[in-house]
Amino acid sequence: MKLRDIHWFKFAAPQNFYYLAGRMWPWFAALAAVLTLIGLWISFFVAPVDAQQGQGYRIIFVHVPASQMSMFIYLVMAGWAGFGLAFKTRLSGMMASALAPTGALFAFLSLVTGAFWGKPMWGAWWVWDARLTSELILLFLYLGFLALQASIDDPRRADKACAVLALVGAVNVPIIYFSVKWWNTLHQGASVSMKGASMATPMLMGMLVMVVAFWMYTITITLLRVRSIILDRERHTEWVKHAVAQH
């Protein structure tokens, strides 16, 4: 089989992707459920009490994956957006708009859990630290994306306009990442680095499992949401009538 014989864009057709997503999401949902249970078990019962932070540190098992996902989803969203602008594939815009609410949710979750952690550790619910502030800006970027999407009636135009906005906003995500180095702040430095983690192994394990669980959750929910968006946008076509009639 030669490279050009492969139908690269087969699943770029919303109809094909609808069925593919329908077959994939239960697997990701199952993985998400299992991994979340394992992750929570490790974080509550296996991971030891932190020498300095006591029990309060356990919020990081939700906080760290949520912040990571909120940043990563924005990049993926911008990636889909750029892909959609470049190749004019309809599905890309749908993927971007399916990812946005989950990203916003994680950004919000990250801020809330950060506040729960900050109160016992720093003695304040909110500190105007660079990382907190950039996470807040990220939430604003998501909200802007969602607001723009909601205010344009024509979905194709909304997708394209949001794509430009997502790409422009993506410039902000590296600033978030490097803000720790740019400003000398209160927030503790990153505990996990490429050189080796400054954490006990069970703690690290728990966090990594939770990170993967959040990934699986994101994939599941995005697939489900994109399926609804596809049905909504293609509701005038024959295949949708057929697919709906089957249920």
Partner: protein, 231 residues
Amino acid sequence: MSSAVKPVGLGFVLLAVLKREISLGMRQKGEVLTPLMFFAVVASLFPLGVGAESNLLLRMAPGVLWVSALLAAMLSLQRMFAMDHADGSLEQMVLSPTPLGLLVLAKALAHFLLSGLPLVLMAPILGLQFGLDGRGLAILMLTLLLGTPTLSLIGSIGAALTLGVRGAGVLLSLLILPLYIPVLIFGAGAVEADAAGLGIGGHLSLLAALLVLSLFFTPLATSAALRISLE
């Protein structure tokens, strides 16, 4: 028809658009002056809100003046394309052989001259009310001079994206204000850093870097957004 169309120089187009925008702006003085009054009013509200203690005001001055300037510059953003969109001349600009990015650049430059530059000139008067000294005022003006063109450029993206959209004004602010934050941080930061006896070279360099980056990238993004809006 033997005479070929004489190609028009890009510099000529830039100047022509600039001249047109400024004469249009001068004919509607109200729309140019209102953001300036807004700037003065907003900046004057802060002492009324937080109290007139001079030390507190002095410390707040850079941030308050920068935020007020940012909001004032945003007020007039919608004007950038809305009128041309309404009378159809924007479509002609998109169709013209001149690169759209260049026209966008000219429009953003005109927006800076009509809204940013007056803010720069007005800032020292308001700065005096907050008790900034001569050096602080000079640095405030310098940072505004470096920062407001960036605001006009970034703002052009939002203005193009929200063209002909329901509730464009509020939406524009939601889209654009988060993108203004780096400019605000380094602009106000420079004045604060100098007051604290630190060097301001880094802040000014970063402001200039943001300006250069947005000079290069925003015409591309705004042109793409305009084309999408006019589809």
